[in-house]
């Protein structure tokens, strides 16, 4: 499986936890990149190909909503799938993000296995 995945979250410990769920889902550790905020995530996208992004919304420097605006404005990134993993439950904000191209949302708190299932499902969709 050559899918390349990017975890965007300001919490190093949560990135570590998400990374483990992604490995359980079948993503090789070497294919997983990390970013601590939206700006760092944009730098990663500019530097290497990515297929799936797991995105937190509440982050310093550049938050998830700002990142989605920048990502959706770049036609070179239109094939990247973005899934939001966040405590954000406001339906208006989530609807706005979906209208900008966000694929799905997993609310925190989540069970690690639920995240692994979601990643497996996203990867299957990317490959099909």
């Amino acid at each position: 499986m050559n899918t390349r995945l990017l975890i965007v979250d300001d919490s190093p410990i949560l990135r570590m936890s998400i990374r483990k769920s992604c490995i359980v889902a079948g993503v090789p550790a070497a294919n997983i990149s990390e970013a601590g905020n939206g700006k760092q995530a944009l730098d990663v996208l500019a530097a290497k190909p990515i297929d799936l992004i797991l995105l937190d919304l509440h982050m310093p420097v550049m938050d998830g909503e700002q990142f989605v605006q920048a990502w959706s404005a770049n036609p070179n990134w239109k094939n990247i799938m973005v899934t939001v993993v966040s405590t954000e439950m406001n339906q208006e904000r989530l609807t706005k993000l979906r209208s900008m191209g966000v694929h799905s949302c997993l609310p925190k708190p989540f069970e690690p296995e639920a995240l692994a299932r979601l990643v497996r499902s996203d990867l299957q969709e990317i490959r099909s």
Binding site: D10, S11, P12, I13, L14, M16, S17, K20, H58, M59, P60, S86, T87, E88, M89, N90, Q91, E92, P107, K108, P109, F110, E111
Partner: protein
């Protein structure tokens, strides 16, 4: 306006702990012992509802929490590296739960970023706080919530 009481907050935190890091807890009547090493984190929210939340954990509880996030055994956890980050993430998760419980799905309520807690901020007006405790294998987590009746803390 606040539909949150002691038992609701206690349950929100217990569910978040069990679901995210597989820590089972029991309501604990006990207070944290003064002088005990602790880790703390606060998070604030504002908008159509305003409030603050502070979590204070004994060192043992912070170790269990960090172990849960990192999938390590508690003895393997490097607490200086992961303890504060684990507390911040728990504050973020519980803050999101509180905002949702206050109607955040349909109200404009913005959750802030978590940070290291300052316990003195919450002891200034103890009568306005909801305080509860959870116990996991003798390790204690204290939760302090201040709703919008004390907007000065969330400014």
């Amino acid at each position: 306006m606040s539909n949150l009481d002691h038992s609701v907050i206690q349950k929100l935190v217990a569910v978040a702990l069990e679901r995210t890091v597989f820590i089972s807890t029991e309501p604990a009547p006990s207070q944290l012992s003064s002088g005990q090493p602790t880790y703390s984190a606060t998070i604030k929210f504002g908008g159509q509802a305003t409030g603050s939340l502070m979590l204070v954990a004994t060192e043992g509880f912070a170790r269990q929490l960090a172990a849960g996030f990192t999938c390590m055994s508690p003895g393997e956890v490097d607490l200086p590296t992961f303890g504060q980050d684990a507390m911040n993430e728990l504050a973020n998760i519980v803050g999101g739960q509180v905002v949702t419980a206050l109607g955040g799905e349909h109200k404009a309520i913005r959750l802030g970023l978590p940070g290291r807690g300052d316990p003195t901020e919450f002891t200034l007006r103890p009568g306005d706080c909801i305080t509860c405790h959870l116990d996991s294998m003798g390790d204690v987590l204290q939760i302090v919530y201040v709703g919008e009746t004390d907007a000065s803390l969330a400014a």
